[in-house]
């Protein structure tokens, strides 16, 4: 059933100071509203339980992509379309561009934001695996101040995260790596456009003469949170690629994930596909 529209408030503060002031005075009352591509779907379905929202649309401080010598900093309101059109992201962070291009349709990509994808906290979100692989850091802002923390560990459980009611996610920082890493991203969904992931896999590795110097693996839709596969990384880090180590890594990964049966797929299928994607990633590293 559709929601009762007059029951919902959406304020549009004109500055970050005003927005943070409102959040500080009435913490928990106001929920941030970025592109709205998830919240408006819940509204239409009559499932949007929160009633008061704070639109971030006029907060210029949360927009833009800044490139420095050692990192790229994306404002939380950077859209999926802006991500795809950034030349520095295309060349150095291609997994993020791939994830942005596979999230929803062009209309969704024009509105949906990177910050929204993180704070919406869906375990099936497509950009977070790429962010984990890139060791992203996030900037939280409140009247109490600004602090940066690693994105890895931000989500603590299904739809739960280290974000206080008076805080906004302000920016996402991607450190630029000095040496080239081999990178891999694949989303498996029901159809090529629009589908929500059954499994989403991001991987990156630094290779040294057939040996894995360092590696990152992250997955969406196979756990209550977007998962960094640390145990599987530990099996692979420092290992020489070969059939034995690939089999061991697949076995470890299948125990590290905790997929469920739901409307989009089954735990069995997700486990099998996750292992296949790992094998495809590792096989490409060997070439």
């Amino acid at each position: 059933m559709r929601a009762y529209i007059p029951g919902y408030d959406l304020r549009v503060p004109g500055s970050l100071t005003e927005a943070l002031g409102l959040l500080a005075r009435e913490p928990g009352i106001w929920q941030p509203f970025a592109g709205g591509t998830d919240l408006m779907v819940l509204l239409e379905a009559g499932k949007l339980s929160h009633k008061r929202f704070l639109s971030l649309s006029k907060l210029a401080d949360l927009r833009g992509i800044e490139v420095t010598s050692d990192s790229v900093i994306l404002g939380a309101l950077t859209t999926y379309t802006e991500i795809q059109r950034s030349s520095v992201l295309q060349s150095q962070f291609p997994l993020l561009c791939a994830a942005a291009s596979e999230t929803g349709s062009i209309a969704t990509q024009n509105r949906g934001t990177l910050g929204g994808n993180i704070v919406n906290a869906s375990p099936a979100a497509d950009t977070p695996p790429a962010l984990l692989v890139y060791d992203a850091e996030i900037k939280l802002i409140s009247e109490r101040g600004v602090h940066w923390l690693p994105y890895h560990g931000f989500h603590t459980g299904y739809k739960k995260m280290h974000l206080a009611p008076d805080e906004l996610l302000g920016a996402i920082r991607l450190p630029r790596r000095a040496k080239p890493w081999r990178q891999y991203y694949r989303k498996v969904g029901t159809r090529k456009a629009q589908a929500i992931s059954k499994v989403c896999f991001a991987g990156a590795a630094q290779m040294e003469a057939g040996t894995i110097g360092d590696i990152r693996i992250a997955l969406g839709s196979v756990a209550p949170i977007v998962l960094r596969a640390g145990k599987t990384e530990n099996v692979l880090r420092g290992a020489k690629l070969g059939p034995g180590i690939i089999a061991r890594a697949k076995e470890t990964l299948s125990r590290e994930i905790s997929p469920i049966d739901d409307i989009r797929s089954t735990a069995h299928y997700r486990t099998r596909v996750t292992q296949n994607l790992l094998e495809e990633f590792l096989s490409q590293l060997g070439r």
Partner: protein
């Protein structure tokens, strides 16, 4: 008696198809409903209402968006083009002409959104490749045509006037 807590309507000012509009709407009213019910621009259709089908697509500051996912207040100060603003008076847009020529419409519910998506694509990429056309239309669902005639219409719309794509396809 149960009285639900409500907020009042707010003033919104935006440009729709080149005309400045001042209207009152609830902040969270969908732009789709405001266009259809307040401005009587009923060319924009509601399909799924959850951002999956593209039937309600409009252009907001030149970018294609699903109007079912835009709260009215977010349209304040924006420039919006709906299907009613695509033709210049009686002169149809090249995309609309091509849809007619190629039989790109059947029941018509998806057509306004398809045309908007195609116009957005061509305004950004005047000579799109086949893959770019397919990607440009991927957010718009059609349950009648099987898509081939819509695709052919967009190809046709990108050709210089006077050429005939029917022989090529």
């Amino acid at each position: 008696m149960f009285v639900p807590e409500t907020v009042g309507k707010i003033g919104i000012e935006c440009t729709v198809n080149g005309k400045l509009c001042r209207l009152q709407a609830y902040p969270m009213a969908r732009l789709l409903d405001v266009l259809r019910e307040e401005l009587h621009l009923t060319g924009t259709k509601e399909g799924c209402g959850e951002g999956e089908c593209g039937a309600c697509a409009v252009l907001m500051s030149g970018a294609v968006v699903n109007s079912c996912l835009i709260p009215a207040i977010e349209a304040d100060g924006e420039e919006i083009r709906t299907i009613e603003g695509i033709a210049s008076g009686a002169q149809l847009h090249a995309v609309q002409e091509a849809f007619l020529e190629c039989g790109g419409a059947q029941c018509g519910i998806c057509t306004p959104g398809m045309v908007i998506a195609a116009v957005a694509l061509i305004e950004r990429l005047p000579h799109p490749g086949d893959a770019e056309i397919r990607e440009g239309l991927a957010g718009n669902l059609c349950r009648c045509t099987g898509y081939q005639k819509i695709f052919a219409a967009v190809v046709r719309a990108c050709e210089p006037a006077g050429t005939n794509s029917q022989e090529r396809r």
